[in-house]
Amino acid sequence: MPRPKVAFYWCASCGGCEETVVDLAEDILGVVEKVEIAFWPVALDFKKADVERLPDGALAASFINGAIRTGEQEEMARLLRRKSLLVFAYGACAQLGGIPALANQYSREEILSFVYEEAPTVDNPSRTRPAVVSRDNGVDLHLPAFHGQVRPLCQVIDVDYTIPGCPPTPNLTREAVAALLEGRLPPKGTVLAPDTALCESCPRKDSKPSDLSFTRFRRPHQVLADSALCLLAQGIVCMGPATRGGCGAQCIAGNMPCTGCFGPTSRVRDQGAKMLSSLCANLASREVEEIDAVLDGLPDPVGTLYRYGLAGGLLRRRIDTSANT
């Protein structure tokens, strides 16, 4: 009996997700004997044509990481969708837009002009910019279109399952693959991670006070955090309470606050808004002026509350900068 074909692909991502697949270490072999890797540009020499040649639905599953920012990524996502029975959104960028989605605070024009013209390290007097089509001695050269905003996978194609994390842990990956092979996958749309927030598995859970009340906020670089005490209790914004568990609380172990890469639980539509709600309700101050003074401690609300979740959140992007120019 032929082994099920699977594909791995990356879109707008840092490559960290690919790393986790490699991090499966020797387990990868176990996987490899059970499946046939039909497409994995990072590791093996496949061409797009190889995939196009496959009949639709020939792939048992595609694991796509990274968000969709360019026409090429969109095109590949659609292609793999067409060829796959199941599509796994792999990692925070594919799930929510991830770090790249922070760029949704700027218009395409702002980004291009900065990157190709204004950035201090750029020397580009002729203000040359990449064009979708450029003619070079009689030949049309094509570059992928640079979209107006970053999108999570699900805003572009139909996604069957999500494996969260930046990056997903080997365990989650192993679990997902196992479930896939053993045909014990949960209902479509499920996020393949615990549906309880991180605090449950947080080593510092017991140090969390029952009378939490913020008189000031401090950012990780401003203090040397007590490595035993709940970070929120120290006025450091830890997204743990608003973020799925399943990561093993590695950041906490590194004495850094959770930044929310696993995204919200299934009961929450907008991770940032929910965290904001909890965080602010527990401020100590009652007067507007005092409240504002405390909030000044969080100079970058989007960066703090939507580190990964902006594109996948309810509002998706900054609004007054026009999207498509």
Partner: protein, 177 residues
Amino acid sequence: MNAAQPSPAVPHTWSPRIVAFFCNWCTYTAADLAGVSRMKYAPSVRVVRLMCSGRLDPQFILDALAHGADGVLIGGCHPGDCHYADGNTKMLRRFRMLRRLLAQLGYDELRVRLEWISAAEGDRVRAVVNEMTEQIRALGPLNLPGRFAEWDLELSRAETEPRTATTSAKEVSHAQT
């Protein structure tokens, strides 16, 4: 298109859609009072009743915007008068942060408004709704659903069609727009 100005397409007859979250004890009752006293105000507002402004999950506000509200009005008891001690204070704290968040994402601060209105201030409901309606009329529609669709025009419509020269031509036309 810019959120600050109404797009030229907006007809003069356009009336904003405002979703209001009123607490059961003060502001909702005030709105009832406005009705009982037959005060007249703009038909732009749709009220969602909550027991306390403290229940107001910021998600509700963002969700209302995402579903096409041009503005969101929050009504609670005056400070110190909350039927549940200080639910309104908790909302106030969230609101102060929400303003910053929305500002960072380019929303005009007039679009989301918090008002303390006691059960006796039916007239205040009238005044606030009318004022907010005018302010938002001046800002023009927010119409997020429309914008989402507009933004997605850059995506290739064809779910299944194989990649051809025409699509790359589409790419070209995108680059030109």
